[in-house]
Symmetry: C2
Subunit: 121 residues, 2 copies
């Protein structure tokens, strides 16, 4: 079985595309995904999936309907299933996601940023 | 619902105990755990659970039966279910685990380091 360590900085250097999660690992029923944020995403929610966001470089704001949370490097936030949220970043942020394999990036919304199939990296 | 960000450095500063994972978050069927490694742990395996190790400070060696993998800061490794492993650290390492809630720290082994009940932090 393939057991290789992953260096986050090296992996993030391998792609440029923003708002397009890449699969970097698989832990039981969850994926570890790497994603670059810049600009505003889209308001959405995940009916059945909690979603974890860990910042490894930069910062971003997670908007909720009642408040904003600014996430800095080495901080994480878990958005519970059902809760509307919208990430936004004024400068590029590198974010690690942990979430069930079934999670669609735009949740209950479909638009030009929806990614049904994710690359592995 | 409680949605609070977690600063990893602050959380790791809240405890001293080594080899005793603390629950820092819950993502669906998985926990996010924080653990300090120092010295040698115990050879074990998890029959049904993959286990993810992400180093946020320091470094440690994951020993497998056929080789060692040294994990540095901002590197992660996923140990697949069934694979024997033994973490070891010459200096203290701060490690984030992501694994199913059912995962016992010593896997198929029970000894003085087994933790059946974990504190939340």
């Amino acid at each position: 079985m393939d057991v290789r360590k992953v260096n986050l900085a090296e992996k993030f250097a391998e792609f440029e595309e923003q708002w397009s999660p890449k699969i970097a690992g698989e832990v039981n029923e969850s994926y570890v995904k790497l994603v670059k944020f810049r600009g505003d995403f889209v308001w959405h929610r995940h009916e059945d999936e909690d979603e974890m966001f860990l910042v490894v470089k930069g910062r971003f704001t997670m908007r909720f309907r009642d408040r904003d949370v600014v996430l800095e490097e080495n901080e994480f936030l878990i958005v519970p299933k059902g809760m509307e949220h919208c990430p936004a970043a004024t400068e590029e942020a590198h974010v690690v996601l942990f979430e069930p394999k079934t999670t669609l990036n735009t949740g209950d919304v479909r638009n030009e940023r929806t990614r049904d199939v994710l690359d592995r990296i």
